[in-house]
């Protein structure tokens, strides 16, 4: 409704002005402003936060895993479901890749990434398949698989952990390499996010996810393959979590059975803060990615600002609540405006 009116605006100048206003009003913009503010304030307190090789590297590298996870979860949330198992999927995949390296020490780095993504996708297929068969909310199924995947991981790993010496040197070198000052893993995460964003925004099946999330019954009546798309969203989420698991292995080099614990909350929180509405049908990949960047930045900025990092979860919680309340207020205001517009002759 608003979109058609904007494009139908008479003069190009007005159109450009309103487009600028729209850009400023977007959630992505406000998150970006928050990130910049956070970085500026923290750098003012401690200049090495940005202006040092190490600081710059962690600032960019820390968000990489969160971005990939949040983008995957965004697919599921946009189709009005939720995936609580991404943390467990990520941990299990990281351990699987580590074990694969022990069995095949010469495994090329590319194979590790592809294998991990496929493995995660397979776990996502389990989630999606169960949701499709049982026709119950994804929350319940993924709550169960969150337990199961983690349990399998601990059962498999026991108390052993996989160390850097057991993984390929090329693989670990890639995890810590930089291209023109930007960590390779961050570049990978951004590329994945761009592809995912393009897919959701431009392809038919991507748009169908929004339709399903906005009104599942209407999508069904319209003839969309609702359960197949839902299945796909879980596979994407699982594959992203798998990729995040490989990135985790490549970056840290040490994998214990508890790797990725609690990451599901961070991923969902990042997506929600970035404007992906938990009621489905709303949100962008860019928003989820920026949300992830903000969370990771808060993580590393809190200790610098003299706040114990233990408070990080409280900040995340407050941000989630603020984001959903803001979403609601904006939605109510837009609804009122649309009604007012309809009232006018």
């Amino acid at each position: 409704m608003t979109a058609t009116q904007t494009t139908a605006a008479p003069t190009s100048a007005a159109s450009a002005g309103s487009r600028l206003m729209q850009l400023l009003r977007r959630r992505e913009t406000s998150i970006l402003v928050a990130i910049v503010a956070m970085v500026v304030v923290t750098t003012a307190v401690r200049p090495t936060f940005v202006f040092s090789g190490d600081g710059w590297r962690s600032l960019l590298l820390n968000p990489a895993i969160y971005i990939v996870l949040a983008v995957g979860v965004a697919f599921v949330i946009i189709s009005r479901s939720v995936d609580l198992s991404v943390g467990s999927t990520m941990g299990l995949t990281a351990f699987a890749i580590g074990s694969l390296y022990i069995a095949w020490p010469q495994m090329p780095t590319v194979v590790a990434f592809v294998a991990g993504t496929l493995f995660g996708g397979l776990l996502g297929l389990v989630n999606g398949g169960l949701v499709a068969v049982a026709k119950v909310p994804g929350m319940v199924i993924t709550l169960g698989t969150m337990y199961i995947f983690r349990g399998i991981n601990i059962l498999w790993a026991g108390t052993t952990r996989i160390n850097a010496s057991q993984m390929g040197p090329d693989f670990l070198a890639f995890g810590n390499s930089q291209v023109v000052g930007i960590p390779a893993l961050t570049i990978l995460a951004v590329i994945v996010a761009i592809i995912a964003g393009w897919y959701l925004h431009n392809t038919r099946s991507g748009r169908e996810l929004y339709a399903i999330g906005s009104a599942p019954e209407a999508a069904e009546l319209y003839g969309l393959a609702v359960s197949r798309r839902a299945l796909m969203s879980f596979v994407v989420s699982g594959a992203m979590a798998g990729l995040a698991g490989v990135m985790f292995a490549a970056r840290y080099g040490t994998i214990a059975s508890n790797a990725g614990t609690g990451y599901e909350l961070q991923a969902i929180g990042a997506a929600v803060i970035g404007g992906v509405a938990i009621t489905g049908g709303v949100g962008t990949v860019a928003g989820a990615a920026f949300g992830a960047f903000l969370l990771a930045t808060i993580n590393s900025a809190l200790p610098v600002l003299g706040i114990d990092s233990l408070w990080q979860r409280a900040v995340v919680g407050a941000l989630i609540l603020a984001a959903i309340i803001l979403d609601r207020v904006l939605a109510v205001r837009q609804k009122r405006r649309l009604i007012a517009e309809r009232m006018e002759p």
Binding site: V133, K135, V136, M146, G151, D308, Q312, A318
Partner: protein
């Protein structure tokens, strides 16, 4: 006239079937079977101490499952309960270490639990936010404050009388005294849910929210009260854990929400709302507890128990959905011919 009675006989089930062939009874049966098999096959399972430990460990889950069942019957969910348990531990420890009298501290913690529930309920009912999103937020918020307040320190040295109370065993029966507290709470919740207009309104809201509102159910008030109950019971659970362990830490109750929700769903509460009974929920909690303690006795590690909890949760919802779709299909098959037979005699009778 005769046609309708025939119809009733055909579709209605005898009373004994209606009572025994339910989802809840299936779980009760499974629980009894587990107890029987484990009691016979596993040495020391039927032991006094095993029973005592089982009931003591499940107390917090039991009391939180009661309001959680009510919340889920209305179609909402509260995943912040585990964090509220942790926050209650922290605040209780902090108040006590600051010299506040212990009894007063406990009252304050219960009030804080109610306030936390009020926050959830107000955001859900008054602002109209989805319960899942709100409680994901408060889950992180409460846990963050819990671990932030105490940091890495712990508080110990709680009054002996109170810590002993949580361990007190009634005679040599293997039944901890706190189970009496649970039974009282259980009776209160059963009364509330099954014998008051408020409780019937909870089912009505879960089945059809709009229709319930038009029938005079106060939707906002009901939802808020249920979240307040969930918060208060979580605070009680937190006080209990603190006293039982004798230490207050911020990370207590981590993951408890998952166990509670798994038990509630396992106990037959529909994830879509509107369906469920409290005795089924109690059976669900006890089933998870009994399986865990049986497996622990035969040397199975806690990780396998995690897997089994997950499998039980998924298995129960998948089975329930399969049974429903099977019944619907059968109903369609049997309904098709009987409709014609009902329609035929009607004109001849006139």
């Amino acid at each position: 006239m005769t046609a309708t009675t025939v119809g009733y006989r055909e579709y209605g089930r005898p009373r004994w079937q209606r009572i025994l062939l339910t989802r809840e009874m299936a779980i009760v049966g499974l629980l009894l079977l587990t107890l029987l098999v484990a009691g016979l096959a596993i040495p020391y399972f039927a032991d006094r101490l095993t029973v005592y430990n089982l009931l003591r460990d499940m107390f917090a889950t039991l009391i939180i499952a009661l309001p959680m069942a009510l919340v889920m019957i209305t179609g909402d969910i509260d995943i912040s309960v585990g964090s509220m348990v942790g926050l209650s531990c922290s605040v209780l420890g902090l108040l006590f270490s600051m010299g506040v009298p212990f009894e007063l501290s406990m009252v304050l913690v219960l009030l804080m639990g109610a306030a936390g529930g009020l926050l959830n309920g107000a955001l859900v009912a008054k602002i109209g936010l989805p319960a899942l999103a709100v409680t994901i937020g408060t889950m992180a918020l409460f846990r963050g404050i819990a671990v932030g307040l105490l940091g890495t320190s712990t508080v110990t040295g709680f009054p002996q009388g109170w810590t002993d109370l949580t361990k007190y065993e009634i005679g040599y029966t293997g039944i901890p005294f706190i189970i009496v507290v649970f039974l009282v709470l259980f009776a209160v919740f059963v009364y509330l849910l099954n014998f008051t207009p408020f409780g019937r309104g909870i089912y009505a809201l879960g089945l059809n929210s709009e229709a319930a509102v038009f029938s005079g159910v106060n939707r906002d008030r009901t939802r808020i009260i249920l979240f307040v109950l969930a918060g208060t019971m979580s605070a009680l659970g937190g006080i209990y854990w603190t006293l039982l362990r004798g230490t207050a830490r911020g990370d207590i109750g981590d993951g408890l929400e998952l166990q509670v929700i798994a038990a509630v769903v396992l106990g037959g509460v529909s994830v879509f709302g509107g369906i469920g009974a409290l005795y089924g929920v109690v059976a669900g909690v006890l089933l998870i507890g009994a399986l865990s303690s049986a497996l622990r006795l035969v040397g199975v590690t806690a990780e396998v128990i995690k897997i089994i909890t997950g499998v039980l949760l998924i298995g129960s919802v998948v089975a329930a959905s399969m049974i429903t779709s099977f019944q619907n299909r059968r109903k369609k098959v049997t309904a098709a011919p009987s409709q014609t037979s009902v329609a035929e005699p009607a004109p001849s009778g006139e």
